[in-house]
């Protein structure tokens, strides 16, 4: 299928923020090409045992819904209102102050009022009022209530798949209402009648069966990692081990599969391999738990649990002491806020202790999983790594706080600490666009597909423009992040808005600077780009 043509950046930035004449309830949704994602295929739905597998696409008139779709949705809503205080509360307490409106990157990038978090939530609230509150039942529209119709369902689909669950609005809401939570509920409801997107269901189906989103089979994983080891040898002269499914290893390492599949994630993965080799870590990859990411988070809580279960199960089977997790965004939301609750307690593991520094990771004493930037920052702090930051002198780097490590963990200092020790040229973006106020890449939560490209470029525009500013001011040519989805989506985003800026993980930068025992003199960075002429090269 061919993709819709994206407007030129200069046209895209001409955004109208004036709401339309008609009230939003009376404004029909147009499925404009470039702004929505393909439906989940029957094959993926069947593989996961999800309801209503069929062939359909969002612009179709007939979505082939089950006969009793309305009862299913309303029953699903009732159930979730009873199971989640968050959901019930968020349906009730909003005062529509509008503080969230211009905090959403999709609203900033599209000007579509239904992309204001408050209205995105009202899409669901209006139906909630109609069927679950007395005032809504009695006064209907006057009480902000409306009937659930097929058009409403389509509207939900369009807008709940135009939210990346980044939680920026939640940081600004005076009540802390979290749009991600509402979007998650909306998507769960849509899933009940088989309305989902393939960029979520296919990876989830793959992950369920093969252990990772990309559907890479055991041999493939080994080949890819070995291939990286070859590349590392080529760049550094050091041959690194690639332990896989090794019983009795001390640490199980889990990272998003994007890291061993495609550039520029692979360079980050090479960074992990080099680091672990250099410090002599007794660890192992797993092919069964070969995915840190969890696209279940973008479909339902049940799916989160189904996909996440493998990590603890594999840790138990391999008999490791604790788990180390790679650079990923939503993966860490799951590990931080869901894993232990869903699939714990991990009482068969030990409280994580760094075998090199003896540091006890007390903040992970229950979940027993440590973030690699915490691990590496601790190594640097204790002088366990020899770093030569001048090898990164051709790189002028800025750091993008990925949404989930920022607003679901608060992982701000560790990655900066590593970058500051691995690079000599680090520049922060504008204060309102980093840390807890960080802006989304525009392609998280399953929206990073190519058919949705216009919406991604719109949603990512605020982030891109903040990069553009530091590019112009400081000559920044590298955007570092700790998220595999970012590494993929920010690359397209930079190509569109800020050409000349490349994207990488923090451990790629670290590995560039890492002085390894027995290495040859490095002439290139991990990408094979020459190191000589340590000046800024705009065409990098």
């Amino acid at each position: 299928m061919s993709f819709a043509k994206i407007p030129k950046p200069d046209d895209l930035i001409a955004i109208r923020y004036e709401p339309p004449e008609t009230p939003w309830m009376d404004t029909p949704v147009v499925f404009r090409p470039g702004t929505w994602s393909y439906s989940g295929t029957a094959k993926s739905l069947t593989a996961l045992g999800l309801p209503n597998p069929r062939s359909w696409q969002p612009p179709d008139d007939d979505w082939k819904l089950p006969e009793n779709w309305k009862e299913i949705i309303l029953e699903g809503m009732r159930e979730r209102l009873e199971k989640y205080r968050s959901f019930k509360l968020f349906m009730d307490v909003c005062v529509r102050c509008g503080a969230c409106a211009d905090k959403c990157h999709f609203y900033i990038g599209s000007g579509d009022p239904r992309n204001m978090p408050v209205l995105r939530a009202e899409l669901l609230r209006s139906v909630y009022r109609r069927y679950f509150t007395k005032s809504g039942k009695l006064f209907g529209r006057l009480a902000g209530a409306r009937d659930l119709t097929v058009d409403v369902l389509k509207e939900w689909f369009y807008y709940f798949y135009q939210c990346t669950e980044c939680r920026r609005c939640s940081a600004f809401c005076p009540f802390g209402i979290d749009q991600a939570e509402i979007t998650m509920m909306g998507r769960e409801l849509l899933n009940l009648v088989g309305c989902n997107i393939n960029w979520v269901t296919e990876p989830a189906a793959n992950c369920f069966r093969t252990g990772n989103h990309l559907g890479i089979q055991p041999g493939g994983i080994k080949d890819m990692l070995e291939f990286m080891a070859d590349d590392i040898e080529d760049r550094t002269g050091v041959r690194v081990d690639v332990p896989i499914n090794k019983k009795g290893a001390e640490i199980l390492f889990v990272t998003p599969s994007g890291d061993y599949f495609a550039d520029p994630g692979t360079y980050t993965c090479m960074g992990y391999l080099m680091l672990f080799h250099e410090i002599g870590l007794n660890y192992t990859f797993s092919t069964y738990a070969s995915e840190g990411g969890n696209f279940g988070l973008f479909s339902s809580h049940e799916m989160v649990k189904r996909l996440n279960a493998k990590i603890y199960a594999e840790a138990k089977r391999l008999g490791v002491k604790w788990i180390l997790g790679g650079e990923c965004g939503h993966m860490w939301r799951v590990i931080q806020q869901y894993m232990d609750t869903m699939n714990g307690p991990a009482d068969f593991l030990e409280e994580p202790v760094s075998p090199l520094t003896g540091t006890r990771f007390e903040n992970a004493r229950s979940t027993k999983m440590v973030h690699i930037v915490e691990f590496t920052a601790d190594l640097i702090r204790n002088g366990k790594l020899k770093l030569d930051p001048s090898r990164n002198d051709g790189i002028r780097v800025t750091f993008h706080d990925s949404c989930n490590p920022a607003r679901a963990m608060g992982l701000f200092e560790e990655p900066r600490y590593i970058i500051n020790h691995a690079c000599n040229h680090f520049y922060e973006m504008a204060e309102d666009t980093i840390r807890e106020k960080t802006l989304c890449c525009g392609g998280g939560a399953g929206l990073g597909n190519d058919e949705n490209m216009e919406m991604r470029m719109r949603g990512g525009m605020p982030r891109a423009m903040a990069v553009k500013q530091v590019k112009e001011k400081h000559g920044v040519n590298r955007l570092a992040c700790i998220c595999a989805i970012d590494r993929a989506t920010l690359t397209s985003l930079m190509d569109y808005w800020v050409p000349g800026v490349t994207v990488s993980g923090v451990h790629e930068l670290l590995a560039n600077a890492l002085v390894m025992t027995g290495e040859k003199e490095r002439t290139t960075d991990l990408r094979g780009e020459p190191l000589e002429g340590k000046t800024v090269d705009e065409t990098l």
């Binding site: 968050s86 529509r96 199960a313 979940t367 106020k437």
Partner: protein, 329 residues
Amino acid sequence: MNLLTSLIAVLILTLLAAGIAFSATLSFLLTAVLPYAAFTVFIVGFIYRVVQWAKAPVPFRITTTCGQEKSLPWIRTNPLENPSGLWGVIGRMALEIFLFRSLFRNTKMDILQKRPVYGSAKWLWFFGLLFHWSLLIIVLRHLRFFIEPIAPWVNGLSAVDGFFEIGIPTLYLSDAAILTGLSFLFLRRVVVPQVRYISLFTDYFSLLLILGVVSTGLLMRHFFPADLLQVKNLALGWVTFSPVVPKGIGTVFYIHLCFVFVLMAWFPMSKLMHMAGVFLNPTRNLANDNRMRRHLNPWNTPVKVHTYEEYENEFREKMKLAGLPVEKE
């Protein structure tokens, strides 16, 4: 449309209240029956709503973190924006409730030279805080009608509130503040196109109702003085369950009362319940200590998983071929 409907609703209320003043029976109803009815609806409704929320469990600890987490000992944490323990949570909630911390973060985005720029926008925070605090002070000041002898702190509060002694009777600062705050909130809703677009009837009506209460109160204090002794007798009558219908107390007072009772009855069934809801939100009132302490989900439903055995059964030959260890040869 929603604005118009709410204006009409408030107007009808005013006329109704004014009408009541002319009928003895209705006056009795308003001053002797409705207070209890409104108060009961308020209390029962309020509790009902809170119980409804509290009954729903919190399956996951979904704190929104707005500062550095507690991790390595040498990294400075931000316990108020990202609490890892109870005291931090209490601090965070206190900042949220007393100072509207999150709203203080507010920015305004504008596209300037083809680029979004985030300007500081503390107006909503400022006027919101002004409104809520002055409302609290005014409610507390009104206790002087319900307590005899008047508690010294209530008198003290009134004295401070009227510190500048502008005019006779003294203009209370909280009165001026609430009027300013309310006007801002209302005008903002009407003037800013995006906010107008999202506004429902309830949004306008709640504001207008409170505006009605405030303006009638001000009218009585400064233009059509009500007989304070009568008012106090009435209020004490309510408290002691022996209400007496006051005489010659004035139409404005009746309208004031009418607005207050409607507000009380309206409160629990409207968005005004955010007053209670703000305390219950799991994104704010939970510590970000998920990896330290396991959070329990009361309905942790079992799910279908894909076991290692199933995985190896499918890929055993390929794993062996790749030289990967297997459980069963």
